[in-house]
Amino acid sequence: MLERGSAEGDAAARPGAGLPPESSGLIVPGVPLGRHRAPPMVWQFVRRKPMGVVGAVIVCLLVVVAVFAGGIAQYNPYQVRARLRFQPPGNAFWFGTDDFGRDVFSRVVYGARISLQIGIAAVFMGTSVGALVGLISGYFGRRTDLVIQRIMDAMMAFPTLVLALAVVAALGVSLPKVILAVALTLIPVSNRVVRSVALSVRETDYVAAARGLGGSEWRVLFSHVLPNCFAPYVVIATANLGTAILAEAALGFLGLGVPPPTPAWGSMLSGAAQGYLYRAPWMAMYPGVAITLAVFGFNMLGDAVRDVLDPRLRGR
């Protein structure tokens, strides 16, 4: 007798049904259960989304580096060594030293912490505000929708970097202000996506039934419409992480990111790294590799999450 695993209930009916029983989510009598419980879904994800797995591995590594930066870094990232300026990469300093004799490897490692901190905070803030406003806009419609969407149209009229630059120009430069500047640029996209979901959900029968049972508009909105917007929220948030890290790095490169001496990847690429580009190219090389890897990892993971949570986009 065969029983279907709950999470993979329809797996056998899908094109990938030719997979062996242990990977199609079936519980086979006589075979130890321990071999089948969790792996099928993970294994299918690994098989179908190899680039997503690469992205997930990079993101996990990034998180580990950020959390255990103190243990991974060779030296104090702020420690100035006047006699050891511009040391090329070697055994003592894996990524060389900068114009103050600071260890570039340690600064790149600590930079992961700053980038991740800004990325996650900005995405959480921007995507949440955008989603909440989109939810209200889509659910209530009419004038509320009209006003909110015109504001979103206007916000979308600014190139991402230019809007962030304008905010930093007005507020000044510090970690919370950079987070706010990046978060603001992320609002319109999440707003549009969640609004479109709210627009369709509000027309469903169960929402009409909840209203008919006497539920207030706000109760219906938060108890019935909001849970349906969770999947697109996760997709947008994951996809935006790469964008946020890139935007923060761009601000840092232009000298308008997290102020020195804090080790932030974008700032490490600007100023002295550009001035001494031909003498000490490693100063600009390694932070750039770190930014590229982080953005690549988040983009790949974001694509895979989107494919899994939004079947319409699968295979594109």
């Binding site: 680039m51 916000m155 600014f158 991402t160 507020l171 000044g172 308008l256 690429l269």
Partner: protein, 318 residues
């Protein structure tokens, strides 16, 4: 079509008003006194109350917010946004010198992005899940992950250290010396063009794949038409409309890319002007450039909508 054009033009007006309001609000939410900040400058020494009061009057900051906004709006309509606080020159005069630089960079970058994105996107779709597809997909994914400021830096390093050649700095008009001009612009345009092509290539692949599965494409093949004719005559015509839309949306980000590229390659364009103005706390200039970029993007979106409506008459009804 003329009714549609009128409707879209009218719809643009509130967006432009909100754009101006956003810029106005952002520039006035600065914590502390702008006049105080301007007078204290880099040294951070406090200015006297009298000096601050005089500068506030001079900048019109002592007036109510609605009056300040109306003056700001009137200046924009008259195309007279005032003078730079840093150079004391009229902002429009400086913009007049810098706009051609950014425009040339943007046009060149668009041409490069289309030249890269169309062939790679189409080939990727036609040869789906083959090595050609994988190579072009990696190429486009890399374009999305590589920051323009880093590729620019690497390119400079490559040109100078490996090829022993430095791109000429500054700006020479294409009318005066076209050869030198192209030497100045080709590298920054390549960097922005590649970043834009990465997104466009993915979009082209996706759009072509969708059209390739349509019934009329199968019919065209069944008639015995060659693959190149099917793709060239039947697929591209329908697949290019969404690509065009994304391309116009990307134009906005391309302006953001211009800010970075002009900084790396020291091109005296509008993007560089914006960064310098921010570093010098030149608020009228920042305000004007940000709103200029906003207007350009709104105008581009309008043009795309019109072009889309012309290509696909069904969209005029929505």
């Amino acid at each position: 079509m003329s009714r549609y054009l009128l409707r879209r033009l009218i719809a643009t007006v509130p967006v432009l008003i909100v754009v101006s309001l956003i810029v106005f609000v952002i520039m006035r939410v600065a914590p502390g006194d702008v006049a105080q900040m301007l007078l204290s400058g880099e040294s951070g020494t406090a200015a006297s109350a009298e000096e601050v009061h005089r500068l506030r009057q001079q900048l019109g900051l002592d007036r109510p917010y609605h009056a300040q906004y109306m003056t700001f709006l009137a200046g924009l309509v008259r195309l007279d946004p005032g003078k730079s606080l840093w150079t004391s020159e009229p902002i429009m005069l400086e913009l007049g010198r810098r706009i051609p630089v950014t425009l040339e960079l943007a046009l060149l970058a668009v041409a490069i992005s289309w030249a890269i994105a169309l062939p790679t996107g189409i080939l990727s779709a036609v040869f789906q899940d083959t090595w050609i597809d994988y190579v072009f997909r990696v190429f486009s994914v890399a374009g999305l992950a590589l920051p323009a400021f880093w590729t620019g830096t690497l390119l400079l390093l490559l040109l100078v250290q490996q090829l022993h050649w430095m791109p000429p700095l500054g700006y020479v008009s294409p009318m005066d010396n076209p050869r030198l001009n192209i030497q100045q612009f080709i590298w920054p345009a390549l960097i922005i063009g590649y970043a834009t092509a990465a997104i466009l290539s993915r979009m082209t692949r996706s759009a072509v794949l969708e059209v390739l599965r349509e019934d009329y494409v199968r019919t065209a093949r069944a008639k015995g038409l060659r693959g190149t004719v099917v793709v060239g005559r039947h697929v591209l015509k329908n697949a290019l409309a969404p690509v065009l839309t994304v391309s116009a949306v990307q134009m906005g980000n391309l302006l953001g890319g211009a800010v970075i590229s002009e900084t790396i390659f020291t091109l005296p364009g509008v993007g560089r002007f914006l960064v310098d103005a921010i570093l010098h706390r030149d608020y009228p200039v920042v305000q004007t450039i940000v709103i200029l970029f906003g207007i350009v993007v709104v105008a581009l979106n309008l043009m795309t909508d019109l072009l889309y409506a012309w290509l696909d008459p069904r969209t005029r009804r929505t």
